[in-house]
Symmetry: C2
């Protein structure tokens, strides 16, 4: 494998030459019914990716196909699957795909088969969840657990929380909800205090999630929880399980009811399919539901190995994103799920994308001369339509859009007004927005004029099930991975979070050495 | 008053000439402790605006002062306060300031003093809330109301919801919480269905919020609620109040328990301080709490009349934002509250800003040749630090940051770990981030290098009280207003939301006339 900066590739030149064509893409002429019906790719999990409303023609797609070949994207993905050290900065493997199934060689590290290790941990926490549901594991007063509270931040919070919210209504409808789940993340003491005041402590099991066991916020919140448990006369060791690495101080520690393990090859933002998401989702919905999510993700992972870009949704989505970022120069992208269940999914993708590809150096630590990861934001539709869509339609800048939608609701509870149900209205709004953004509408009154030419993609499926959700998760993980590989950067480290941590410790110790920083601390009453 | 496009002003030239200076602003040298202590402006409500970490020098500030003079920003704000028709596109006054107190002439429309009208409605819904709390108004089975559910979308949802979440923990701590509040907004039927399954219908009062009484989502959700109430054998007319304009079909309608009124001079995204936010906040926390919020907002509105930009926080924040948008060319801005209570405040500001200033034409409907409103996004700190801050620190583009923080938590419940409480850690993180973003840190390993030069502002205060929250709300409303006036656009209409509505209706009627749009509808199973 060769690792080449994007602007040193032949494809960069080819795409640069096509840029004008992309900028002048005529959506009104090009976006035909045939195009909508044919520009589709299978995502997995019953989902389909539609890219008809993207400014790409056969020439662009051919150039993107050539880019995939030239940057050896599939070979590099296969190298990740085979356990090569692709997180170069931290000298680590990248194994979140292995959590959901094996698509490469056996990955062995220090004599341990890691696929087996992950499977074993999956079975361990599945059995734990089963035992809790069966009342075989109970709280220190002998009462059954009804509530699970995750203590974690970043990847230990956003992904699991987004997935829990995404499946909560589905699970209630399918009679799969077994326990309520809540989350404590922020070091703001109001977060832990409010959550703890809202749960029945005696019947609550806490999941303490920190790979290193040293995360400042999580340790502070652990003590918060411990003090409340103690005050309630409960035995700490019967109410907290740890989800951590085997080398952390939380591991093999009798202070906890149990512990489940991951390792350094699972990055925080890629850990939703490990015990980081798995313990709480298995407790909330049952291990079978979590395994269905893994199945959907694995299916999407497998499809991501397809070399033909037109048949590989994650790869194509990635390449079109690069096209928009580096040649059409759009600095952001919005994620717009037409599904209330995906309310926090954009926040998870915001982390996944911005923490992975918000980098300025290549894998070798050399400066890059082109734009990398965009700003990602979003809210569910139709809510967003009544909020920030004004700018998306008529603002001075173009924001590429990523829509998500489903034929059926999760709860199947609906009402008919003016001849249509709410779910139908939701979908009609989504279809209408795609057309409105692409084609606009001319009006002599410029205040009512819509320029159109706003590109969008759509991922759609029948219903947001665990399989669909797993595939959706994988789609975006693999999209971000492929983009990082095009940009020749390391999507798996996050050195940009370190400086703030170091300075915070100095402020707390009173030795920052920077009078300006001390002055800010004084303004805030530190 | 003259209305001039920004690029036709003398100030535009002056600021263009200063742009290089701004781009090369030396944060490490300039950001001294003295600067931090002196570049402060009073926001109102006990809050202070700090702009020390913004790339402005005396010359820039002088040019921004001159811009304020040249574009007559204070005079135009006064014209708004005096009830002139400043929403030109819709031929309407702009009176959201008048809801919280009078700062201009009496505003009379069709013989009605509107200040008196707003005050009367405030007292009417205050009395309604008092009567509900006193058990004088009860549900149709005679039981007391314990829960209030708002049915509304966009401005009828985001602002009130953000404010409710912002005060919930404060209210619980101060023994002010009187009822629980929930919100139904999305036309996705899962939204209404899930909320309705989670409330005690018999003891729930619904607030139906739609100025026109014709919002598709809100009418669908109203029927959703009515069907559930009927099924539960409850009398609809005892469980729903309307918050609408007097000309809407919801007004003076015996089908509702009561109705409270606003008018066309209060735009949706500016309506939080009207009954749109007021009814539900008064029910949840008591009318006295809502009035304290109005007091804080009024105080900030008054301070926004100050002509000296250094003493007018909202004006200065607006002008620095213009400086960053049009001369330093940053296309986005992040809102980062270090307060879990402000979890949904960025979503409200996203609407406020992007729907107000995401425009491409001036007040006269002529095209603009400069960038207007930026993309706004954000999540609370420290959560965001473990998510998208990687890109903010080390991405290829610069995102200006707007921090918010408080000396004290709302609940006063804290825990000490490693010698400091969580609230202290929260504040230390905030101070550290400002310094890290501004000054960065050189490292020979470019992967660990921080370029710095990331500008930020900070709004800080003692505690997030109703007064502080009201001032915060007003600060951003007035900031957005001043920016719209600089850009010579109409911040108070939203024509960009119309096309999607029109096309949706056509899709539902099966007559869109666009085969591509029909094809999208078919993919989604419409």
């Amino acid at each position: 494998m060769r690792f080449t900066d994007f602007d040193k590739t032949e494809s960069f030149k080819t795409l640069s030459a096509l840029a004008e064509k992309g900028k002048n893409f005529n959506y009104t002429e090009e976006l035909t019914s045939d195009r909508v019906k044919s520009l589709l790719a299978d995502v997995g999990g019953g989902l389909t990716y539609s890219y008809a409303a993207k400014p790409v023609c056969d020439k662009t797609l051919a150039a993107l196909q050539e880019l995939a070949r030239e940057q050896e994207l599939i070979a590099k993905y296969q190298a990740i699957l085979d356990g090569e050290t692709m997180n170069t900065g931290e000298n680590r493997k990248v194994l979140h795909h292995l959590l959901r199934g094996q698509l490469g060689k056996d990955v062995v590290f220090e004599g341990k088969n890691l696929g087996d290790f992950y499977k074993k941990e999956l079975e361990r926490f599945s059995a734990f969840a089963d035992a809790v549901h069966a009342g075989k594991i109970v709280g220190s007063t002998g009462k059954r657990f009804t509530t699970a509270v995750q203590i974690g931040i970043g990847g230990s919070d956003l992904g699991p929380r987004a997935l829990y919210i995404a499946l909560e209504n589905w699970a209630k409808t399918e009679k799969k909800q077994k326990m309520e789940a809540k989350f404590i993340s922020n070091v703001d003491p109001d977060d832990a205090s409010a959550v703890l005041a809202s749960v029945p402590l005696e019947q609550t099991v806490f999941i303490l999630v920190s790979k290193s066991g040293t995360t400042q916020e999580t340790l502070a919140n652990e003590l918060f929880v411990k003090e409340k448990l103690q005050k309630a006369g409960l035995d700490l060791s019967k109410h907290i399980v740890a989800m951590t690495s085997e080398t952390s101080p939380l591991a093999h520690n009798p202070a906890y009811l149990d512990a489940f393990y991951m390792d350094d090859f699972i990055g925080g933002r890629y850990s939703s399919a490990s015990g980081v998401g798995g313990v709480i989702l298995s407790l909330a919905f049952g291990a079978d539901v979590f395994k269905r999510l893994l199945k959907g993700a694995h299916e999407a992972d497998k499809l991501s190995l397809e070399p033909d870009v037109r048949k590989n949704a994650a790869l194509l989505d990635a390449l079109i994103g690069v096209w928009e970022r580096n040649f059409l120069h759009f600095p952001y992208t919005a994620v717009l799920p037409y599904s209330q269940a995906l309310a926090r999914f954009p926040a998870h993708l915001q982390q996944l994308d911005m923490e992975s590809n918000g980098k300025s150096v290549n894998r070798a630590g050399e400066p890059l001369n082109y734009s990398t990861g965009p700003v990602v934001f979003g809210e569910p539709g139709t809510n967003g339509q009544h909020s920030f869509y004004q700018l998306l339609h008529q603002g001075t800048d173009i924001v590429p859009l990523q829509f998500i939608g489903f034929a059926e609701s999760q709860r199947g509870d609906d009402v008919t007004v003016d001849g249509s149900g709410s779910q139908t209205k939701l979908k009609a709004n989504l279809a209408a927005q795609i057309a409105a953004f692409a084609k606009g509408k001319q009006d002599a009154n410029l205040n009512k004029n819509f320029k159109g030419c706003r590109p969008s993609s759509l991922i759609f499926g029948k219903r947001l099930t665990p399989e669909a959700l797993g595939a959706l998760l994988s789609h975006f993980e693999n999209k971000v991975m492929f983009q990082g590989l095009v940009w020749n950067l390391n999507s798996f480290d996050q050195e940009g979070v370190q400086l703030g941590k170091v300075l915070t410790k100095k402020v707390l110790a009173g030795n920052s050495g920077d009078p300006a920083l001390e002055a800010y601390a004084a303004l805030l009453g530190v």
